[in-house]
């Protein structure tokens, strides 16, 4: 077959394929998945998440179990979406004796009904730095809520969570505004961030009303001498809603997890099905072609594997040997080659008797040459359809093993996300944004391959199209 022939064949195939609508839908979905799998790295908000998925400190600035940002459209009380405040306005004041005072002013437009869960100020630099944090409220009041001496060292940034370390500052602020209201607040239960973003009112502890408007958060740092330095601080707003798909209980961004999972689902699905179909086709041809003892042995192995219950077996082997993802792929292959074996076997039995095989043998071709050159090319198109059709259940098997906590914990797969959801009570607590997206991704990817495989099957086996 020369290049022109194969191009023409490809074009004919495409004309026929484009008539099967479900096949086109499958290819379209698959295309989106492949695109996200390849370039998703640059679209997700946490690009290094792949290596830090299990790392608690990497995720510590996110809110816990926050619903997706777009849920605000449907809820009566709008929550603050999580965001970063960067590029503050800088005011530099030179003091005596080489002292420099830098004030960083962050604008925060607060238009929501619920105060942020937390504000995290990140300070980096080098040296003993006294610092303070003030909040300028839209009602004109100013509260200095935090003041301390920091010992900063390069590479060890200081992380100040306002909800944890500003209880005294917030109480002082309320006292400076209204002594009576302050006396109603229990100092051990005070929620400083809520206080700072609420109206000063008699029942502000039990029923806070958000004070909407433009806030200014001023971080002032004093640099004792030119031996020392500071970097520009940043503030992370930890809100009630977060990102495209929310966060889980370990504060991980679910959208990031879903996008990272695409890559593994594609790798697991495609690699496993290609290996197992190639093995199945090869063994089917070999058994049919050689017959006799080879046939007997291969068929007995086939029957043995066919009878083994797949999931119980995978679970028990995973529990005993704790496989990595690559071992798991090989394990699944051990079961899935049977899927294409029987059909190929019976097809190869027929092809083996065709005259062109006989002619080739008469011309002196060896067995392997006949298998590779004459029989395999006829069965190859069939194997593409079975590859695509095998992928959905392969992905489900990996997800099932992961769901039981027996998968490879070093990868980010949809099964791993669902396992965390199941064990940490996402179902009971109705955290739907943690349960629906990973399962839907599994279903969508399975569906796209099933559409593709069925379309291929329809073209290659036109018998089932009409009656």
């Amino acid at each position: 077959m020369n290049l022109g022939d194969s191009l023409r064949g490809l074009r004919e195939f495409w004309t026929e394929f484009s008539r099967v609508k479900s096949g086109l839908v499958g290819v379209a979905i698959l295309f989106v998945f492949v695109f996200l799998g390849l370039f998703g790295q640059w679209l997700i908000p946490f690009p290094d998440a792949m290596h830090h998925w299990q790392d608690i400190t990497y995720w510590e600035d996110n809110p816990q179990a926050a619903p997706p940002a777009w849920t605000n459209w449907f809820s009566a009380k709008k929550g603050v979406p999580s965001s970063d405040l960067v590029n503050p306005k800088v005011d530099v004041t030179k003091g005596d004796n080489d002292v420099t005072i830098k004030a960083f002013t962050f604008d925060f437009h607060f238009r929501y009904d619920l105060a942020p869960k937390d504000l995290i100020v990140k300070l980096a630099g080098n040296g003993p730095i006294p610092a303070k944090i003030e909040i300028d409220r839209p009602d004109g009041t100013v509260g200095e809520i935090w003041r301390d001496q920091l010992n900063l060292a390069p590479g060890q940034p200081e992380r100040i969570s306002l909800s944890r370390s500003t209880a005294d500052g917030a109480l002082n602020f309320v006292q400076s505004q209204n002594q009576d209201i302050a006396s109603t607040i229990d100092p051990t239960l005070i929620k400083p961030v809520t206080v700072m973003f609420s109206k000063i009112a008699p029942d502000m502890e039990t029923n806070p009303v958000a004070l909407k408007g433009d806030y200014k958060i001023v971080v002032t740092e004093l640099i004792p001498s030119s031996d020392y330095s500071i970097d520009t601080p940043t503030i992370e707003v930890s809100g009630h809603v977060s990102g495209i798909l929310g966060t889980d209980k370990s504060k991980r961004d679910i959208f990031t997890g879903i996008v990272l999972g695409i890559r593994w689902a594609l790798i697991i699905g495609i690699l496993t099905s290609v290996i197992s179909v190639v093995v199945g086709v090869f063994l089917g041809i070999v058994a049919a072609y050689f017959g006799g003892a080879v046939d007997w042995i291969v068929t007995r192995i086939y029957e043995l594997v066919y009878l083994l219950p797949v999931l119980p077996f995978l679970i028990v082997v995973s529990a005993i040997f704790k496989p990595s993802i690559w071992t798991l792929i090989i394990l699944i292959c051990l079961f899935f080659w049977t899927g294409s074996f029987k059909t190929v076997y019976s097809m190869a039995l027929q092809i083996k008797e065709e005259t062109f095989v006989e002619a080739s043998r008469a011309l002196g071709s060896g067995s392997w040459r006949i298998i590779v050159k004459h029989i395999s090319p006829i069965l190859l198109p069939y194997s593409f359809a079975s590859m695509a059709l095998a992928i959905p259940s392969i992905i489900v098997y990996e997800a099932s093993v992961s769901l039981l906590g027996l998968g490879d914990a070093s990868i980010v797969s949809w099964g791993q996300i669902l396992q965390a959801a199941l064990t940490q009570g996402a179902v009971i607590n109705n955290l739907w944004w943690w349960v629906i997206p990973p399962g839907l991704s599994i279903a969508l990817m399975g569906m796209s391959f099933a559409f593709l495989g069925t379309a291929l099957d329809k073209i290659l086996h036109p018998k089932l199209k009409t009656r």
Binding site: L304, L308, P312, V316, A319, I320, I436, T454, R467
Partner: protein
């Protein structure tokens, strides 16, 4: 002639079963040995508490002797092949023995008792589901096959492809979230409310707990069965005798039910029989999510607690049933189609 064929299939099935038990036994060998050894250590330490009037040296000697005794009693000092062999033989003779940690509800550790407790629950859920799915699926498949590429046929094909890659356990999670927490009309899992009601009320309560898992599995499973039946029917509708029947003026309904359904029966029956036999294994994850204490749940509990006798016995029973299903089908085929038993190769 037919008797000889039946005998040959049965012997072949039994031999396959024996080989598979050996495979399981080899797989479980290392786990079983380490679990058994730690169990012996525990037992001997317990016994040693009773030996009061011994010097520490005598005591240690006696502990070592007891351990050696027990180890030889459980064949742990035998060479590896013989250990695998004896475990296989015990399983093959249905001598399942005691579990290592899991107990039945009456505190008994007899494996047969534990499995006997879990099996009916799985049958109630999964065998009912397979039976329902088969009945409704055949009806739907026939209906879809009557008008290929019609609206219903395309719906069945599309839904089959969608449910193909849909994990049943995920649908179970969604079902619980939707119908147990958001719209609380079904319980989230378990067999009955606590304390269990008795009499007629108890039956109603059991059915109420059964409905959500049953519905979930049914909604997921029915499409692929319908699609399979549709394909079987369609491929038979292309046979010459159907064309001949149509040419004779036989009505379309009669062609479908009289001719096609009849020739499709062996394939549909294969599907049904294998489905029913394999339903006994339950579903490990779905049972876990619905907290349904059947065979699947028992199996996973055994995996977590390294309870090899339970693992070995559940797998053996499941495999035996599948094997019986296959052999039974072969025998029925041989009866229906005399060509098979002569050719030997189906």
């Amino acid at each position: 002639m037919y008797g000889k064929y039946v005998l040959r299939r049965a012997i072949y099935g039994i031999m396959m079963y024996i080989v598979m038990i050996f495979v399981y036994s080899t797989l479980f060998n290392s786990v079983a040995d380490s679990t058994q050894r730690s169990l012996i250590d525990e037992q001997v330490a317990q016994e040693a508490l009773g030996w009061k009037n011994l010097t520490p040296a005598q005591r240690n000697v006696r502990i070592a002797a007891r351990k050696a005794d027990k180890i030889s009693q459980y064949h742990l000092d035998d060479p590896l092949p013989s250990r695998i062999f004896f475990r296989s033989v015990r399983t093959l003779t249905f001598d399942f023995g005691n579990s290592t940690t899991i107990k039945a509800s009456n505190g008994d550790r007899l494996v047969i008792g534990i499995i006997g407790e879990a099996l009916p629950r799985t049958i109630v859920l999964f065998t009912t589901e397979v039976a329902l799915v088969t009945l409704v699926g055949v009806a739907m498949g026939l209906y879809a096959g009557r008008r290929p590429n019609g609206l219903f046929d395309r719906a069945v094909s599309t839904l089959t492809m969608i449910t193909n890659g849909l994990p049943a356990w995920w649908l179970a999670m969604l079902a619980i979230m939707a119908f147990s927490y958001n719209i609380p009309i079904f319980p989230s899992g378990g067999l009955h409310v606590n304390p269990a009601p008795t009499g007629f009320h108890g039956i109603l309560d059991y059915l109420w707990h059964l409905s959500l898992p049953l519905l979930t599995l049914f909604v997921l499973g029915v499409w692929s069965t319908a699609y399979l039946v549709r394909n079987i029917v369609l491929s038979n509708l292309q046979e010459d005798y159907v064309m001949a029947a149509r040419a004779r003026g036989v009505s379309e309904t009669k062609v479908l039910f009289g001719h096609t359904l009849r020739t499709s029966m062996p394939a549909i029956m294969t599907m049904a029989v294998l489905g029913l036999f394999s339903s006994i294994a339950g579903n490990i994850i779905v049972e876990g999510i619905f907290n349904w204490p059947g065979i699947g749940n028992l199996y996973f509990e055994a995996v977590q607690q390294n309870d090899v006798p339970i693992l070995m016995s559940t797998l053996a029973i499941e495999t035996l049933l599948t094997m019986v299903g296959f052999v039974l089908l072969d025998i029925i085929y041989g009866f229906l189609d005399p060509r098979i038993k002569v050719g030997g190769k189906a």
